[in-house]
């Protein structure tokens, strides 16, 4: 029986790593109006693998076997649909698929190693079209490019499978209607288009990192997929911009700490209380390497600064020894590049550590009239923290209670309640 488990495991890993690339190549062959056809071929190839390997054992090169099978199935489909209107053969790239003189060679060209990675990236850019809503972008990327099942995507977002199917349908309709031709952006547009892709990757990462899912597997999956997508941008000369390196550094630093953030029961652990020995040193040094590589050119993005902040946290021997002064400088720069009231709130926390509660209170007062911020739990949680340091316990409790009212997150609520208990105790 071990053999069968091996097959399943190999296939699962292969599927996660390769299905997105296979889908991207097949979409190029069939056109974006036939995404479902492309996905079906990949599914079919997977089923064939499962059936065949069960009887004949695993082939020497399972990946090559899977690609070969998908290629052969694509040829079958081309032959079958040659005279139907499903596939647009008037496209110059597809014209040679109709003749048997050139079908096999054309098909093999589509599957050449050096094109596959480009097609995959091109699909990523296509998915991140500004006309497609961000949640639809992530849904589609997870399902079609990361090999998630509908069920797994639904679990990632804590929504029903039905909702996911609808989102996928809408995205596919968009591709169909607009006959999108996926391509890697031209040099002059690479920064703007990559920014959208990176935002989506970071959102996917945060869905795993910040999310309060009890499902640890899904969280780790989201984090590793986000890292993987970002890495594939770094692996290509035309997409490896400083901003990509910066996000990769930032996510590596965060990912290094992911296990120490949450208890096994799903409770949040504050940075001050985290076990720094459990931080993943390998990811931290990888992150440092990426951060160095992010430093070429003149670009300074929010990812650069956030990564620099995360780096300072990673290298501090303990919470008290954190270089708050350096971190405050990064926050100041962040606010200059893109003012964001939530960043301002976090800056108040740094002020609290660096200059004490009085100055932090002065700082946070500056945004007390901000409509959204005054209803944001973190604002009240930080006020609670400041008043706790000022030894104004009853005020602190009141702020914490307000914060509990304003957050939906159970672990956050739990952490805040703990703080109240500590004060009352």
């Amino acid at each position: 029986m071990k053999k069968k488990e091996d097959i399943n495991k190999t296939l699962n890993n292969l599927f996660r790593q390769e299905s997105g690339k296979m889908v991207a190549v097949l979409i190029k062959i069939f056109g974006t109006e036939n995404i479902e056809l492309a996905e079906d071929v990949v599914q079919d190839a997977l089923i064939s693998a499962l059936e065949t390997w069960k009887y004949r054992g695993m082939p020497e090169n399972p990946k090559a076997w899977l690609y070969r099978t998908a290629r052969n199935k694509a040829i079958d489909i081309i032959r079958r649909k040659k005279h139907s209107k499903t596939i647009d053969f008037s496209d110059p790239e597809r014209k040679l698929l109709i003749s048997e003189y050139t079908l096999a060679t054309t098909m093999d060209n589509f599957w050449k190693e050096q094109h596959i990675q480009d097609d995959f990236l091109a699909m990523m850019y296509a998915c991140c079209h500004p006309d497609i809503s961000q949640e639809n972008q992530i849904t589609f990327i997870l399902k079609s490019l990361c090999g998630f099942s509908t069920k797994e995507v639904a679990r990632s977002f804590l929504v029903s499978e039905d909702t996911i199917s609808k989102r996928l349908y809408r995205t596919k309709e968009y591709f169909r209607k607009h006959k999108i031709r996926p391509r890697i952006p031209f040099p002059e547009e690479i920064n703007a288009k990559t920014a959208v892709v990176l935002r989506t990757i970071y959102l996917m990462f945060n869905e795993g990192y910040n999310s309060t899912h009890s499902d640890q597997l899904i969280r780790k999956d989201l984090i590793s997929q986000a890292l993987w997508l970002c890495k594939s941008l770094l692996d290509n000369k035309s997409t490896q911009t400083p901003e990509v390196y910066a996000l990769m550094a930032l996510m590596s630093f965060h990912a290094a700490r992911v296990d120490s953030r949450v208890t096994e029961q799903g409770a949040l652990i504050r940075l001050a209380d985290q076990d720094r020995n459990s931080w993943n040193q390998e990811l931290i040094s990888l992150g440092s390497m990426y951060l160095n590589q992010a430093a070429f050119g003149k670009t300074l993005t929010t990812y650069h600064l956030e990564a620099a902040i995360a780096y300072q946290h990673c290298i501090a021997s303990n919470y008290e020894n954190t270089n708050w002064k350096e971190i405050l400088t990064y926050y100041d720069l962040l606010l200059v590049i893109a003012y964001d009231p939530v960043v301002f709130l976090n800056r108040c926390l740094v002020m609290l550590e660096l200059n004490g509660p009085d100055e932090a209170l002065e700082a946070i007062k500056k945004i007390q009239n901000h409509k959204i911020i005054s209803k944001y739990y973190l604002y009240h949680a930080i006020l609670g923290e400041i008043h706790e340091r000022l030894k104004a316990s009853s005020k602190a409790v009141a702020y914490y209670q307000q914060a509990i009212q304003l957050t939906q997150s159970k672990p956050e609520k739990r952490l805040l309640k703990q703080k109240i208990t500590n004060l009352n105790g």
């Binding site: 040679l96 048997e100 050139t102 096999a104 060209n109």
Partner: protein, 114 residues
């Protein structure tokens, strides 16, 4: 713009007796040729044919289970192209990679009946 049918005769034997590498090279050459024709929008279509076939003669009464001509004469494939004149069509046909395998080509203009 006129249309021309290019009938490709013979060449199979030499092709089938050549090494795998040469066969692959030949397919690449075809890819190159047809790719150029497609890009120039000269190509309408074209397919290779199986060696097997049937021939009907005597008003359809006599059926022979092989192609009409065989050996060097057998039609092994066709191409349909667009060209302004027979001269230009001939020029295009001259580039056919199968000459290396001793094929012969026949170029015929598509005839408008009305």
């Amino acid at each position: 713009m006129k249309e021309f049918l290019i009938l490709i005769r013979g060449g199979q034997e030499k092709y089938q007796n050549s090494a795998l590498k040469e066969m692959q090279k030949h397919m690449e050459d075809w890819q190159q040729w047809m790719g150029t024709l497609a890009k120039e929008e000269t190509l309408v279509g074209g397919q290779p044919l199986m060696n097997e076939g049937a021939t009907l003669t005597e008003g359809g009464k006599k059926i022979t289970d092989r192609p009409f001509a065989e050996g060097k004469e057998i039609v092994g494939g066709y191409l349909l192209i667009k060209a302004d004149s027979m001269d230009l069509a001939t020029k295009i046909a001259k580039e056919c990679p199968s000459f290396e395998f001793d094929c012969s080509l026949e170029i015929r203009e598509i005839s408008p009946l009305v």
